[in-house]
């Protein structure tokens, strides 16, 4: 019997080792939806839960006297929503609008707004464990705007905390 147990143990150890080696993903693990997008050539991500819809081909109306980070307002099926640019907060250059530009309508803590993106790269489900804490090297000014980071397409991608962005605007 003990020989049988030892054999089973060896088999289990072998399977566990192969599991780790081959990077098999635990299908039971909690997943999170992420919207990967670009700003000034860099990749960023938004939590899918925060994103209500992604718009294209929509006119943005400038509001005189509004803060620099507000691009304007849009008519969203009869409701008026603001459109913001987060480039300034992230310390990246604001890009020219192009045919790939999109507006992600996000909602967090009761605040709703559009966020201008240069392009949407992907919308994917990722294991929760793949979101790592932000690097300590991240600039202090951006710490409250980034909730973690992932590796996507061999690039480190900052996951944006929409709540942090809104809190920064209100302050």
């Amino acid at each position: 019997m003990s020989e049988e147990n030892a054999r089973r143990r060896t088999l289990l150890d072998g399977a566990t080792s192969a599991f780790k080696k081959e990077g098999i993903v635990d299908v039971e693990e909690d997943k999170v939806k992420l919207v990967i997008f670009t700003l000034s050539g860099d990749y960023y991500a938004l939590y899918g839960n925060d994103v209500k819809e992604i718009l294209q081909n929509i006119s943005v109306f400038f509001v005189p006297g509004s803060p620099d980070y507000i691009d304007g307002i849009i008519n969203l099926r009869g409701d008026i929503e603001s459109v913001i640019s987060i480039s300034g907060f992230l310390g990246v250059k604001m890009s020219e609008k192009s045919s790939k530009s999109r507006i992600a309508v996000v909602e967090k803590n009761g605040i709703r707004s559009g966020i201008i993106m240069d392009s949407v790269v992907d919308v994917l489900d990722m294991p929760l464990s793949s979101i790592k804490p932000q690097l300590s090297s991240i600039e202090k000014a951006q710490k409250d705007l980034v909730s973690g980071e992932i590796v996507f397409d061999s690039k480190v991608v900052a996951v944006i905390d929409v709540g942090g962005i809104f809190a920064r605007m209100k302050s």
Binding site: S59, P64, G65, I73, I80, I103, S113
Partner: protein, 115 residues
């Protein structure tokens, strides 16, 4: 059944942007020397608001007034208090303080995200 409140507003363009002011805040119009002016009611001297063009006098149903988004509620402080959508275009409802305020109207008047 109560009728929805209405307001009569003067719709105009300023810096290419479509805006409107409640007619009860307007004293008159002036078109001297090719300039188009809206004269606004004021306790002191008349307030002159030079505009690009006066488009129409329009009756706006209060039900069609839309609140400005939360992120715009504090800035620009009190000048624009609501918006109306007409023909797919947004009209900003302004109050008389617009004439007293120097706003940057020249940059990025209307940004279009092309498809």
């Amino acid at each position: 059944m109560t009728e929805a409140a209405e307001l009569t507003a003067v719709v105009f363009r300023l810096g290419g942007i479509r805006m409107a002011i409640d007619s009860t805040e307007i004293q008159g119009f002036s078109g001297d020397a090719g300039e188009k002016m809206i004269i606004l009611k004021s306790e002191g001297d008349d307030l002159f608001l030079p505009v690009d063009e006066i488009e129409e006098i329009s009756v706006i149903d209060s039900g069609s007034l839309r609140q400005l988004p939360q992120l715009l509620k504090t800035e620009p402080r009190g000048i624009f208090w609501a918006a109306v959508v007409r023909g797919g275009e947004i009209i900003l409802m302004a109050d008389a303080s617009l004439a007293k305020t120097k706003l940057a109207l020249q940059k990025d008047i209307k940004m279009e995200v092309a498809g």
